[in-house]
């Protein structure tokens, strides 16, 4: 018996992809990433409290190219989530909800997060 593909009811894919929904999804994703990333901070602090040997191990891992990549992404994730949170504070005062305004805020969120991340890493890591 052959099985024909059955018609599906329209779901998420019928909607036009908008910047506001993207930033909403990214806000949640960065929140989850920050959640996991906080373990990295706890491990670093615990290693420092423990002794020089564990700290050397953590510094080697975090200082490797992959560790640096993760920390760079973590920096962006934290900054993006913070800016997204500030956007929610703005919305709490019923400001910036009109069409156009909310798109501007969403784009500002994305652009500022990238600019600030690059600024932080340029000033404090690459030039230091």
């Amino acid at each position: 018996m052959t099985v024909r593909s059955r018609p599906l009811s329209p779901h998420l894919q019928i909607y036009r992809w908008t910047i506001t929904m993207t930033m909403s999804i990214v806000h949640r994703a960065t929140g989850i990433a920050n959640y996991a990333g906080m373990a990295l901070l706890a491990i670093w602090l615990a290693a420092a409290a423990w002794g020089q040997e564990p700290l050397n191990l953590v510094n080697d891992i975090y200082g490797s190219w992959f560790g640096q990549l993760v920390l760079f992404a973590f920096t962006w994730s934290l900054i993006h989530h913070m800016l997204g949170g500030i956007r929610h504070f703005i919305w709490d005062f019923i400001i910036g909800m009109e069409p156009g305004q909310r798109e501007t805020l969403a784009w500002a969120n994305l652009v500022l997060s990238i600019v600030l991340t690059l600024l932080v890493w340029t000033v404090f890591v690459w030039m230091a």
Binding site: L41, A49, Q52, N59, Y62, M82, F89, V120, F124, V125
Partner: protein, 130 residues
């Protein structure tokens, strides 16, 4: 918030006040409050990480062992843990229900407690015992 099963009839009838008004408002306010404090945390964290990334233990002790840095950072870590648990609850509520939700919520709480306890214990050790 302990979830109640929301039926079609409950949704259709505006007189049924499903959900927990108190706990949900508290959730909202807690998330805003801890989020605002976390802005301070991020700037502080940035300072600490930039100052100490890749440094040896004596440097870590010199900076974090200073009570004016180590203790506020410990307090902020606790606030972050509350924000983490609250935020992850939002996610879990959206995608899971019933006993699986409760199990994941338990793991969520345990992870947040673990991060906070490990971080705070490490900072207290650095501040008071070097």
């Amino acid at each position: 918030m302990r979830e109640t099963v929301i039926t079609r009839d409950m949704v259709a009838d505006p007189k049924t006040k499903y959900g927990n008004a108190r706990a949900s408002t508290r959730h909202f306010i807690t998330q805003r409050l801890t989020g605002a404090i976390n802005i301070a945390f991020l700037i502080f964290l940035l300072f600490v990480v930039v100052r100490l990334a890749g440094q040896d233990r004596p440097d870590m002790v010199a900076v974090l062992g200073n009570g004016w840095i180590g203790l506020p950072l410990a307090a902020l870590l606790v606030v972050v843990a509350v924000h983490m648990r609250n935020g992850m609850r939002d996610v879990l509520e959206d995608y899971f229900a019933g006993s699986l939700y409760r199990l994941l919520m338990l793991l969520n709480t345990l992870f947040c407690i673990l991060v906070a306890v490990a971080g705070v214990a490490a900072l207290l050790k650095l501040v008071f015992w070097g």
